[in-house]
Symmetry: D2
């Protein structure tokens, strides 16, 4: 059964106007080692409170790279959903949908009804979330093509779909964008006809003004900025430049060459109090930037949308290792022919990508010291190639090798044909929707005297990101199912519900 | 960090000699619908108690099909581990291990230490479990080949390994077995030179005696019986025969033709008070048999070891659907060349297998009514073929097709080369180890006046089975990660630990 | 260099009006065994003459199953080419083409020019062939949908393409068709609203009249009939019914139940002097039918278009075995969701298909008695499944296993995503074009007193067919490259050119 | 039927002692363009004579890289065959064989016998060839490990096999080898404990002496040298160094740094009159070297053994393009874990490999100007990665994308698991066997006054090489089937047999 809405019958939640406060017993544990070497688990139960503002604000999203494949796919897709479009394709009639979106198309288990039937709700019924159809969409692009022309160029949606929204798409013009050829592939220069001029500082100020204008013109209560532009090369992290918030701002003032365009957007975003999401793998979130975000109380999250091969990889690796099989090699090959691929054909941009893709199995390996000795890990290679003729149809070829019982071998080979941007767009929407939601959630633990936002690095969104950022000093979790559980259980906590434990004890009793 | 052992610092567990009792607050919820159609979740917290006997008994396992590929692989593999064997292979030196075993090679997360480092323990440190090296192994086979000859015939282990244990293996002779050609493929007859004679009733009595003898001769405190023989065709479930415990016993007395060999083993097992596991897909667990097991308080579990393709499938399907992608087709092709494949080349045996493999995605689909309308489900086909030349090296070719955002398609194609029996053997050991363990665990919920075993259908072991049996009237869960969470959280509960919630709230606070 | 046309400078060809006669020295050899067991090869050189009528007639094609996926794909595709259509698709602009057609898109090597550059010509420049754009297309279908509606139903071409030819397609109405539910899957009945009525004899007469009318109305000089309808089950070959031409005609008169619809079409075709091609695997070409075709001097050819997996298989198997590798297993799995798949989900229809696909590697195996002992052959399985959601996008998953040097193994796994009808249509056109061409070629060997057609079973077209028919008593060749060489060399012979020997001796001399 | 031996009943062959002379009518044609632009094919028939010395000499092979995986696999494999070894493996009993060898395990079609049965012969029955079992094997390695230790290190053969020939293998010690770290990966240095000392000239002289000694000590009539060592980086071709034979010798005298070890071996080989085969992709065969080989009348051939992925690729590409399908992309990914992989992980060595693999489809593309405009070609990428854990089990993942009829797409994805050295060894033997054979074949065409060897670049062996060398100014053929036809037809010519034309005209006549 699907419950579109639900109430929770609990005394732990109090409602006051738009606000609700949930008082929550959080069960956890820590581990101590005694003097004689014994390991002792110390269970703890701490009280937390979650304060949620249930009023969904009028929200906009500003995409860096609006005219790119992801940007156009998202924009046209949202319009198609809003207008409930239908269109013809080679495969028959199609209807707009949000397939691939956790918030819009996945469900969450609520419990069994009195007949023992399982009841679920849409994921977005857990707490009030913005409807993607209501998002105001804008942003920047280094190419001045309007969104219709950019959609045609992208070769992602069906012509029979986008012809129906030609007028609306033509009306959207990307704002002039920050551009610095030293951070992207030389081949990107030909696209760059819509570029902000001036010193780094002047450019930063212009971006801030663009954000303010977008908010004002569209009468928005909240804006989220989403980097979906080209993967930049890593900026060279430099003491005195990237290490503190103050140095970072000073370096911008001084036009330091290792201040990348993405840092300028991210800083502008924070200074305008607008949450910022990094959908590419480059190291925008240098130490000084995170400090700046914390200082300004502005949430940020990254890096790199977790869409296809990597998402799959975290699932398979988790499955194998958590079954006690010794994964010995992961070889991941990709090719694609869109502009992302073209840019990644440039070695230093690819390097950023490679780094973000490479570490995703590290935590699973580290957490099984039975299979892996200290320092031992599976061979792991990642290759991305530019193959123009496949366009946006990304191909991933993976091989997973494992050692099994007593000398046996297991070889899993996977070929994945996917449309890169059609996987990314719903995930970008999830990031916007959930990022906005969590700006309305405050937390108060035992030791805190007042409610506060969660740490500005919103690691609760790890499910959606390849190389999830975490607050300094905290462990990274790459297991997709654990990431999902984390998100689901925190949303449940806001509603006064205990985490899902999957135990179903009631069905295990003698009858 | 790996903790080989750990203690729990809690007042909720009391220890009394070998017994410990954990008092546990079980959080769950049910769903009600109000008169005006509103869905209300009602959280509940019930107290449960778990009583665990921590003394591991001297345990034996009797395998039906001891001389088959699974049986020999397990037996030789356990010997190799016990003797810490090393051997040469084409790929270099190999060492005995239990890779692929959840209990022996997977870890469980305990908590973070005071430096924020994650601490894990071997899964089998959660509660005292029998060490596979200590199992006494015996059983039945329709072929009288000793275990050495059977190991050579199986072509699974390396000759350089089994030559080292030739003597030990030669000393093991399978007991004469129940055989009824009408339940397996005609091609099995040539193997059948070690068969019990007599009426069904006489055969049942002989099996019971074999069990008693095995226990006595080996001085065992506990025995587990594991069906790992040929997949039988479904017995034709007949009112008056299979519907009640009494009728079932009567039908055996009368020699009814639809009493399959597996039913005879299972009944003998229950009548001897010995837990029974069905590792093949046939319908041994007819209604009358379950009634019998409940009456005699003997735990049972099945059906069909979840090793390769199906395990993978539940992971991939779960991943896709829980990400909001609409899985539209699953095509699963297999071929193998061992005796299992030969037997499955017989249509009616294959039918049993097909049924057990077919339903594994049903619950995931049913629980997402956003993607799937009532009655709608992905196309799903399962094919198994006998290809002698590949031997025990099973090949699985799968395709997963999904509808993605706005008309997009995703095609995942998987080729899996695996050694069938080398995946199965550690899983069989897990079943034995965990089955034995749970016979030492008793439960007492709010409404019960005394401790009792869990329901005799041990659904807590679902993780290990393709078509997990559940107590009558309870939902089947096929999601591998949920099945693992269930098992892990129940074991934690016995130790006084709350379920893992993956929330890591302490790392989400402002710093 | 591409030569669109070429002349041959030779005295061996004489031209007389539209006719040319080539005198040709055919080198071959036979093998004898001497009394003392020695094998002796006896080279022979025989003179052949080929008489070609170079005037291309106005040609029509009548497709049985015109409204099916192949029929509509071909019809709309030819129209698109004729009108030089362009259209938009998701992947960008598309242009009509004949990709996949040997005659239209492949080249043939002519020789090197005086600078040592290789010169090629289009395959269809070898002899005058009908241009597919000039074909008049008609035929039968059990569904009365006009070709536009049928094209929409097929879901093969882009809507943006077929909308441009809506009018032309709507004007094409399939003729009422022969239908006998006992020969196809029961699920086909719902489509059957356009069916000829009457006894088998009456139906035969109506078909003959339809052929005559088609020819007359379209003012055609030649017609080719192409069976592209559902795979029928094998008719049960019966003495006195299918064994002689006379019996076959008598059985039709008597309405014998084992006279299939395809036999009726084929007999009608022959009686009208119209060449007949069987594009499905069923046994239309029973002995009596071949006798009838020979009696009436009407060319026929079949069975089963060789498009995807099987074509690939003959290439891979040929490659492996001719490299000295021992192919040990071929496992071929397919699924598709078009009406062909639906019909093949019926066991007895599938059986026909399976037979045609199964024998394709037999000749290669038999011709390597070093690798394969007498009677030994690779394991070979073929599975076809109906998976509605994939539509016309056929998926083939194949595995090829080989034994290599000294105990090594090679496993090749292939996943092929293809559009079934888009591969078939150009091949159907090739069959029509080449069938028509060879009706204009006559042959005269040493022993013949006058020119005559080749044997009516046109085995020269084997390249295009999965289970190529051959004249009684002659060997079947499945090697794709040998089949292509056969066709190419015979066409060359008609032009007075010796076969390609690939020796390039001139480049191997000392310089 | 298999004929182990055969005679040819012809007057075109005369025998004189060990020599036979075949007089052969070679049919070919060239293409001219007339003044008015017409293309004219001019057939030609030239007389050639082939003189074959039918006495097989006592032959040795010296392998550069004897202790590497290829070298040890070949050596142990030949011993196993010679001794008719049998051994046990995981998969059952194994027997020595030459699977994968064209000369030993492939057949050639002779003709039909009088009953219409096809008769074949082993490929090596076409002309007298050395039996691999009779080869004396020796060579160089930079590691001094004896062949037994090297075989163990290689992890290719089964221990149960090589233990049987431990003594024989231990007796083989590689000669000290030429080593220059600047040409291979730095990681190779650790292996290098068996290295020739001195200037390049001194080293050259030592190698020449080693060759003479090998010949003398083993009483050999013929020696073939085979480079099977690490892929070197390309030497930087320099005017005045690599351009003429004289300069090359001078550069060696002067110790020029761009004289690679492989050039030293090749020059030594030529100066000793010993044929040289280059099994790796580097540019050993610089212009000056080819001149030297021609001057000294010493046959040479290369480059790069065509074993796995590339061989497959030439077959698939040929198949697709010659069927009229437009291949648009080929993505080839490989990984392996042997020392070849380790060396190739060094960028400049990989570059050599990449070049040799990249051009293999160029000729097929160029020869179809219908599908490909001038300058257009498929996207083609080649990636090789080092993944230690897979060892010698090389994995190739390929994707072939094609445009098909009217906008359709075909995607073929291939996963190939293979043992690298087990594919290479039989092919190396073929090269030795055929190279030796062709040194006994002389040719005389119309214009020549006396018999002479073929051009020293033995392009007739192209079938076995990835980037086949050809005499200057002659076209490269990569089509595997054409390469095979070339070889087969030249061998037939030596026996007085016309080329195979696959026409089977006798079966196409009216009956």
């Amino acid at each position: 059964m699907l419950a579109q809405q639900f109430q929770v019958n609990t005394n732990n939640v109090t409602v006051n106007g738009d606000e609700s406060i949930s008082t929550y017993q959080y069960h956890t544990q820590h581990v101590e080692t005694t003097a004689d070497g014994k390991v002792v688990i110390v269970p703890e139960c701490k009280e937390y409170q979650f304060k949620t503002n249930n009023k969904v604000p009028r929200t906009g999203v500003m995409i860096v790279g609006l005219g790119g494949n992801n940007g156009t796919t998202l924009t046209a897709g949202v319009l198609a959903n809003k207008l409930k479009l239908q269109w013809e394709s080679k495969r028959g009639p199609e209807t707009a949908n949000y397939y691939g979106s956790l918030t819009q198309c996945a469900t969450t288990y609520l419990g069994d009804d009195l007949n023992g039937k399982q009841v679920v709700a849409p994921f977005n019924a857990l707490l009030p979330m913005v409807n993607p159809n209501d998002l105001v969409i804008g942003g920047w692009d280094i190419s001045k093509a309007n969104l219709y022309d950019a959609t045609v160029r992208a070769r992602v949606h069906e012509p029979t779909m986008y012809h129906q929204i030609e007028e609306q798409l033509k009306a959207i013009h990307p704002l002039p964008a920050v551009f610095d050829l030293s951070f992207v592939a030389p081949n990107q220069e030909t696209r760059a006809d819509n570029v902000l001029k001036g010193t780094k500082r002047e450019v930063l100020d212009q971006v801030r003004e663009q954000i303010r204008n977008f908010k004002k013109e569209n009468n928005l209560e909240q804006v989220i900025i989403l980097w979906s532009a080209n993967t930049e090369r890593y900026c060279e992290v430099t003491p005195g430049v990237h290490d503190t918030a103050a140095n970072l701002l000073k370096a911008i003032d001084e036009g330091h060459p290792e201040i990348s365009p993405s840092i300028i957007y991210a800083v502008a975003s924070v200074l305008e109090g607008v949450p910022y999401i990094n959908g590419s793998p480059q190291n925008t979130f240098v130490k000084g930037f995170i400090e700046l975000a914390v200082q300004h109380h502005v949430p940020i999250m990254g890096d790199d949308f977790k869409t296809g091969q990597t998402k799959f990889k975290t699932v398979i690796s988790d499955f194998l290792i958590s079954s006690g099989l010794k994964l010995t090699a992961v070889a991941s090959y990709n090719h694609l022919g869109n502009n992302d691929g073209l840019n990644l054909s440039f070695e230093s941009c690819f390097r950023s990508k490679q780094i973000s893709k490479a570490s995703v199995i590290d935590d699973m390996v580290r957490l099984n010291p039975i299979l892996y000795q200290e320092g031992e890990h599976p061979d792991h290679i990642v290759v991305i190639k530019y193959v123009p003729s496949v366009g946006d149809s990304k191909r991933a070829l993976d091989e997973y090798d494992s050692d099994i019982f007593c000398g046996g071998k297991n070889i899993i080979s996977v070929h994945n044909t996917c449309e890169d941007s059609l996987l990314a767009a719903p995930l970008m929407l999830d990031l916007v929707v959930l990022m906005e939601l969590f700006t309305r959630v405050q937390i108060k633990s035992d030791g805190m005297k007042d409610f506060d936002s969660m740490h500005q690095v919103y690691s609760v969104l790890s499910f959606l990101l390849k190389a999830p950022q975490v607050p300094p000093g905290t462990p990274v979790i790459n297991s997709l199912f654990q990431q999902r559980a984390c998100l689901e259980n925190i949303l449940r906590a806001c509603r006064g519900l205990q985490p899902l434990n999957h135990m179903h004890l009631e069905y295990k009793l003698p009858q």
